[in-house]
């Protein structure tokens, strides 16, 4: 699991050398305990961007995680170790967290399946927080059956988590084999079609054809949603780390120190506006699900960039590489919607992931659609570094 979940007897690092002298956790995180009880075997803790702030897992202290599909490339982040471990075939599944795309981006770049459940669906108790208003936990896996199985095991009421939604258990594994039958699918256009490359567009077209999604749908103000997610992330993350930033700024990840500081000093009015816009945006978008069960969009603008790459070019525009990897996931987590990412192969042989998005608490729809794509052979085959 990503090394921000508590494991009894070990220090929870959250990818940060800042925490290396922290006392060991007294107990397992809620999710870890659930899995242990179900018979899962814990192999260890996985690399991540420090504080879960980043989309590439280029950690200055613990090193970059390498993408098993091409070792010169990033694994994505911030749950990069979680995605690489699964993609390499060394474990069946892993746990990650997703605030702005941190499960979906690495799943996309490493070519595996990832589930970011509805905001509030799964307990976060015992996981190191980053942005309380946006943090989710979720599984990454090599096949949809495993993803659904682990998601089902992670469900359960936890009164210690004030953010958890009061919802009954809803197992997804029994319904998987219904596939996409009866699911009304559409393609997200506008912002989501604009900010991606030809490979991502080809992948969307292939999945749209397989899921009989004929209509393109607009999510108005998606760009503004991304900005609002940035503001909430910087403000809450900055607030969380301000005491430590004041005391020992030299111990911070250089990739994040200045943006955490900037977030801590941001005008309060910006944060209030971002929260206000969130409610407005939800009210604009949720009616789309009266007509559609599943919406399709790319998870990343392009396939994995190389380690150390600073810029990428999308539609002729040069963009900052690290931040832009999450531009298509941020508006969706800002809404709190459940998303399953599915991997497709591109012409270069590298994977790219697509987001299958549903109304809140309809995880089953996205998992069924993903299962249908896997069964049809639309998704990319899994690789395996482990010997026979």
């Amino acid at each position: 699991m990503k090394n921000l979940f508590d494991v009894a007897g070990h220090s929870t690092l959250a990818g940060a050398s800042l925490f290396r002298d922290r006392p060991a956790a007294q107990a397992d995180a809620f999710a870890v305990e659930k899995l242990r009880h179900a018979g899962a075997l814990l192999s260890g803790m996985l690399n991540m961007d420090a504080y879960a702030y980043g989309f590439t897992t280029e950690n200055s202290h613990y090193g970059a995680t390498h993408n098993p599909r091409d070792l010169s490339r990033v694994a994505g982040g911030s749950s990069g170790g979680s995605a690489a471990a699964v993609a390499a075939g060394l474990v069946h599944f892993s746990l990650g967290t997703d605030t702005n795309g941190s499960i979906r981006v690495p799943a996309s770049l490493c070519g595996i399946f990832g589930l970011k459940p509805t905001f509030g669906r799964l307990s976060r108790s015992g996981s190191h927080p980053f942005v309380a208003s946006l943090d989710h936990i979720g599984p990454l896996a090599r096949r949809v059956e495993d993803l659904a199985l682990v998601y089902d095991l992670l469900q359960g009421a936890d009164h210690a988590d004030a953010f958890q939604a009061d919802r009954p258990l809803a197992e997804t594994l029994p319904g998987l084999s219904q596939g996409s039958e009866g699911l009304r699918c559409g393609v997200l256009g506008g912002f989501f079609a604009r900010w991606c490359d030809e490979d991502a567009r080809a992948a969307v077209a292939a999945v749209a054809a397989a899921l009989e999604a004929q209509e393109e749908v607009l999510m108005p103000e998606a760009e503004l949603a991304r900005s609002a997610a940035f503001i909430m992330t910087a403000a809450e993350g900055g607030n969380h780390y301000l005491p430590a930033l004041r005391q020992m700024p030299e111990q911070f990840e250089p990739n994040s120190r200045e943006r955490l500081l900037a977030g801590a000093m941001m005008p309060g009015a910006w944060y209030v506006q971002a929260q206000r816009f969130r409610r407005h945006f939800q009210q604009q978008v949720l009616p789309l699900f009266d007509r559609f069960d599943v919406l399709i969009a790319p998870a990343t603008p392009c396939s994995a960039i190389t380690i150390g790459q600073q810029t990428l070019t999308i539609q002729g525009e040069s963009l900052p590489a690290k931040a832009s990897m999450g531009m298509l996931t941020q508006p969706i987590s800002f809404l709190g919607l459940p998303v399953c990412t599915v991997p497709l192969a591109t012409r270069s042989g590298l994977p790219i992931g697509l987001q299958l998005i549903a109304r809140p608490f309809n995880e089953e729809a996205v998992l069924r659609a993903a299962w249908a794509l896997e069964q049809q052979g639309i998704t990319m085959p899994q690789m395996n570094m482990a010997g026979a």
Partner: protein, 60 residues
């Protein structure tokens, strides 16, 4: 059997039917992690003793 090529439920059935033990699964996983993690840098810490203990409890 390459463990990653079978589903979790298939592996559970294989363990229940005695085709493979949980300890064998744990050992094989730890060996593969040791072999491949230097190239990946995915694991920051390997919990080998805990994994073997969890596996022994399943086999018991």
């Amino acid at each position: 059997m390459r463990l990653g090529d079978v589903s979790i439920q298939s592996l559970q059935r294989a363990i229940q039917q005695g085709e493979i033990s949980a300890v064998e699964v744990a050992k094989s996983t730890l060996q593969a992690v040791e072999q491949h993690n230097p190239a990946l840098n995915a694991w920051t810490e390997v919990t080998g003793p805990r994994m073997l203990k969890e596996a022994s409890a399943i086999d018991a």
